[in-house]
């Protein structure tokens, strides 16, 4: 239960960090908050020969306003900093509600937003929430920057679009729409455990009817799963019991989860549908109160 030997670099600038990654290619590995990666090293599931520790790189943390009214979140921002940000619930209530669901407070003290996104555990909250919010990720290498949408970033079980020479540096979250309904909910065995099934969703209303919606589940596949057929069903419809029942059925039918020691595929399909219905109900009942509208 000890990490295998490695060479350790602790750069203070992003330039240094990306040139180290360039130099070491596939042997190099980025260390951020370490809340996912340190266990992998201790269990010897990961044995990188070079570690590039980002924790002393300046300018990679903080929550800033984006030009378009959205958020620009530095990848090294600790999850706890989001949790403590008194303005976040008004600026993005779905993101603010997701953060306390991540691990335990000792984990969030150290864990970073970017670390969780790049680690890409299929049961983690932040990947699903960034997909639901239509966030963009800024990936920086020695050659420059590129921007990849969260939806394109996740490629399958713990697989992402990031290259070995790149660092996730910023998460750009579009402006929150006034009047948007939202909810996040999950089922886990114990508080703080990874979700067996979870859902993050929002709905924009036009009067009593839904104009647009996004339903993203986690813990039910290799990556965050958007259920577009259920979103389609919501569009133009009121969020009444009959519609929600049908959305539940569609979600259960559309999901293709695996069975593992935590839950069977059948359980996940069933619970995915039920959770989605309940989350929509909660979103409708809460209304737009306190969501920055």
């Amino acid at each position: 239960m000890k990490p295998a030997p490695f060479e350790y670099y602790c750069p203070e600038t992003l330039d240094e960090a990306v040139s180290l990654l360039e130099q070491h290619g596939d042997d190099g590995k980025v260390l951020a908050g370490g809340q996912s990666f340190m266990p992998l090293m201790s269990l010897r599931l990961a044995r990188p020969s070079v570690i590039v520790d980002l924790n002393r790189v300046s300018g990679l943390d903080g929550i800033a306003a984006n030009g378009d009214g959205g958020l620009a979140i530095g990848a090294l921002t600790r999850q706890r900093a989001l949790e403590r940000d008194a303005e976040l619930p008004a600026r993005n209530p779905l993101l603010a509600a997701a953060v306390p669901l991540i691990g335990h407070f000792q984990i969030r003290n150290r864990g970073t937003v970017g670390g969780s996104l790049v680690h890409a555990d299929p049961a983690a909250e932040l990947p699903a929430v960034t997909v639901a919010l239509g966030a963009d990720f800024v990936l920086t290498s020695a050659g420059g920057e590129r921007v990849v949408s969260a939806a394109d970033f996740y490629l399958g079980y713990m697989a992402t679009a990031i290259e070995a020479n790149e660092v996730l540096t910023e998460i750009r979250v579009p402006a929150w729409k006034a009047g948007r309904l939202w909810a996040i909910d999950e089922v886990s065995r114990r508080k703080g455990d990874f979700a067996m099934v979870g859902v993050a969703l929002w709905a924009d209303m036009d009067g009593a009817n839904c104009a647009d919606a996004c339903i993203t589940l986690f813990g039910v596949g290799g990556e965050p799963v958007r259920v577009e057929k259920a979103e389609q069903r919501l569009k133009g419809a009121a969020l009444d019991d009959a519609t929600l029942k049908e959305v539940e059925r569609i979600v259960s039918e559309e999901l293709e989860p695996d069975s593992d020691i935590h839950a069977s595929a059948l359980y996940r399909r069933e619970v995915g549908g039920v959770l989605t219905r309940r989350a929509l109900r909660a979103a409708a009942e809460r209304g737009t109160e306190g969501n920055g509208a």
Binding site: S42, Q106, R110
Partner: protein
């Protein structure tokens, strides 16, 4: 860059300078290099909370940090809680409420609760439950632990809420 590095840090008010292997975790450093064996290791991969220490004011799992990452940091471990023979209010409350049996998990609970009560000096039971949800106890049962933390709160949290 090599596989060893000089580390400077302060633990329980005492400054240390040591040459450490970069792959050594902070937990192993405290235990094996500084002989501060009060910090316990249950799982060594971030699940049990036994290794919880306070680094620059925040509770963290010391098995999930490399020692070298604590360069320049100020740490508090369970050894720093008591004042000579006088137990810290949390320790006294744990004793009073029988909040430990084998004691293996206790340092982690104490450091978790210390950090938690600093931030929330008059917590509800539900908040205490949530705060200790990342610490596993295999023998006592959590009820006495919750009671002990609630009992110690006014003293341990510093300034009770008006």
């Amino acid at each position: 860059m090599s596989t060893k590095s000089i580390l400077n840090l302060t633990v329980n008010g005492k400054a240390y300078e040591k040459l450490v292997e970069v792959r050594m975790t902070l937990a192993d450093f405290l235990r094996n290099e500084l002989d501060l064996t009060g910090t316990h290791l249950g799982c060594e991969h971030g699940v049990c909370g036994a290794c919880t220490v306070i680094m620059d004011g925040e509770a963290v799992r010391s098995c999930l940090l490399l020692a070298v990452q604590a360069e320049g940091a100020t740490l508090e471990t369970v050894e720093g809680l008591a004042d000579g023979d006088r137990l810290h209010p949390l320790q006294a409350a744990f004793q009073d409420r029988h909040a430990l049996q084998c004691g293996f998990c206790t340092p982690g609970f104490l450091m978790t609760a210390t950090a938690f009560l600093k931030e929330n000096p008059s917590p509800t039971d539900a908040e205490i439950r949530e705060a200790i949800s990342g610490n596993i106890c295999r023998c006592t049962g959590y009820q006495p632990i919750i009671e002990a933390i609630g009992q110690a709160a006014p003293e341990a949290g510093g300034k009770p809420r008006e």
